[in-house]
Symmetry: C2
DNA sequence: TTGACTAATGTAAGCGCTTACATATACATG
DNA sequence: CATGTATATGTAAGCGCTTACATTAGTCAA
């Protein structure tokens, strides 16, 4: 397993250009400190050798990486993918590279990924949600790596966050559902453990029910994985209970789309016989038939604001400002009054 | 609020445990070479200090990173996301970490990302499609970084690849379309430049038309970006031409879903008035109404096979075996005979 | 007990860069 | 011209690790 090609080093470039390694380094990092003629020689040597600086060595010598890590549950969710895209674009403007890792919603994997990104020298970290082992927060502290929590905005949390109030958003939607006369309400949720977003959304509905004088324990909850098929299966389950719901709220649009599909397969009319509500407002929500009523989450803006906050923390060591984004109810065609 | 926290180093651990740095290193990497009592001391020190090895330093000293890079057009496309997930899972089994970067379909960005991953020490690289500047291939060669091309399988290409025959897959579908009597055929394609997959799919249709004695230049082609809305706009455009198509093939399911949505908005019946065909067979394809006729691409298997090929290349320097995956036509409800 | 091994640990030389500091060169000034 | 200043380059000391090699401790047969 020999790699008999030897990557050219700074040394090689220096030798070829007939200058010192220091000059080459400067030429690459601070070109205006180097004479024009020298720059030319160096650049030629770089090109001819196909030289590429070794990131590890550079990071070690310079003692910074200009890298920010982001750890999300899954790339498969367009929501995260989109938010991250904006995060990345904004960071690039500030001169940072983004390293992305995903956890498949496993807290164990998340811990590994955190350690791995820290080992790789991330100057800062973006994490989704507050809920995780305190041990890991301690580790991050001893490593001196600043962390920003996103996707949630929780004034009661000790850590700064850029996100939205999951409970309030879902509560607002639940209020609408209740005011349309629905009493048999169900929730198809992502798994709740180590997922404070999902938990908050659940609480939002329970809150709305209590406020309306309903018994919150009547809320039927199905926990499932992320996926269209999973949403379909959960919907099935719900419809086969003794008292099938007249309104099914979903933790995200993908689950809702699954539910919608199964409703069609079962020949259950939406919204005449059952209302189905999503969360996120992906493009997807407008592509279904009937178009999905859902809660708009400004992912891109969230990613951007998170990037701004984290960049200023890392660069200027400014304390991170928490930032709350507003969600919005989007009424389309899957929510109707109880018939 | 200075970052006066100094990350603990191997040195610190060694001092605390009362052993040499070599012993600590061995204890961490080859525990069985170290006495039990010593291991304990070291592990305790590691834990107490919250030590985490510096990846850059490690890579430099060990002269390998066990890291493989993957560069895809976009995370936003579930297709890539899913294939990559499998790629990553398989590589993990072989002891590799995966670094992912995306290009937003820009060849310039791709070049940057390639350089960045190489600089980060990637032992191997996964790239999508063959089409790129020869310069970049030369660079990769001088760096001694093995490359695997995926998402395409092209026997005529000089580089090994793990993927499927885009042209043949699309041709097979086009044959069906033609045999159903369609003569006015259109394609909503991703942008063709630097995208040999999209180009091959186009050629596949043209081929089928020629074979059937049709004039391939009659194929209407709209190039657009990736996205549901984009698909909708393209469909609109197509329907407003002098001779609107009776069958619209799409370069991917997402564009097809957009087309389908717009058809509904325009009150054009699918498949009675126009057939719409996707490509990829995402979950999405079964969620629409009517369910999408499309071409199944085995993304997960593709990711897995790519991982296996790349891992064995990097570990044992075995020459990469090209591997062809089979696609399959999936007939659902959006393709029908010409009315 | 001793000698011959083996197992466990230590010593120290880099890996490829950056950067403080030293030195050299060029040019303007009195 | 000597001198001072600014500009360009070189020298060399690490950054935090791994690992070949040297050293020491431990084990066992005779």
């Amino acid at each position: 397993m020999k790699q008999n090609v030897n990557k050219p080093t700074l040394q090689d470039v220096a030798r070829k250009a007939g200058v010192s390694t220091a000059t080459v380094s400067r030429c690459l990092n601070f070109p205006d400190q180097v004479a024009g003629r020298t720059q030319e020689k160096v650049n030629n040597a770089v090109r001819e050798l196909g030289y590429s600086p070794d990131f590890g060595a550079k990071a070690m010598a310079a003692r910074r990486t200009n890298t920010i890590g982001a750890i999300i549950p899954t790339m498969a969710n367009a929501l995260f993918a989109r938010g991250l895209q904006a995060f990345q674009e904004e960071l690039q403007l500030h001169g940072f590279t983004t390293l992305v890792a995903s956890t498949s919603y496993s807290s164990e994997t998340e811990e590994q990924q955190i350690r791995s990104l820290v080992a790789r020298g991330a100057d800062g970290l973006l994490l989704i949600g507050h809920d995780r082992d305190p041990e890991i927060y301690r580790f991050l502290e001893t490593q001196g790596v600043p962390v920003l929590i996103s996707w949630v905005y929780d004034t009661t949390a000790t850590r700064p966050s850029v996100g939205f109030d999951n409970a309030a958003a879902m509560k607002e939607m639940a209020n609408e559902v209740i005011s349309l006369g629905h009493r048999q309400i169900a929730l198809i949720s992502a798994e709740l453990e180590f997922n404070d977003r999902a938990t908050a959304r659940l609480h939002g509905i329970q809150d709305a029910m209590s406020d309306a004088g309903l018994d919150a324990s009547n809320l039927q909850v199905v926990e499932t994985h992320y996926g269209i098929d999973e949403g379909a299966v959960a919907f099935d389950e719900l419809m086969n209970t003794a008292k099938p719901p007249t309104a099914v709220l979903c933790g995200n649009d993908v689950l809702a789309v699954g539910a919608l599909r199964r409703a069609r397969e079962l020949d259950i009319k939406v919204p005449e016989q059952v209302s189905i509500i999503g969360f996120d407002d992906l493009d997807l929500a407008r592509a279904t038939f009937p178009a999905l009523t859902t809660v708009l989450v400004p992912h891109r803006e969230m990613g951007k604001q998170a990037a701004i906050a984290l960049a200023s923390k890392v660069k200027d060591d400014a304390p991170i400002q928490s930032y709350e984004l507003k969600t919005k109810l989007v009424f389309r065609d899957t929510l109707g009054p109880v018939f």
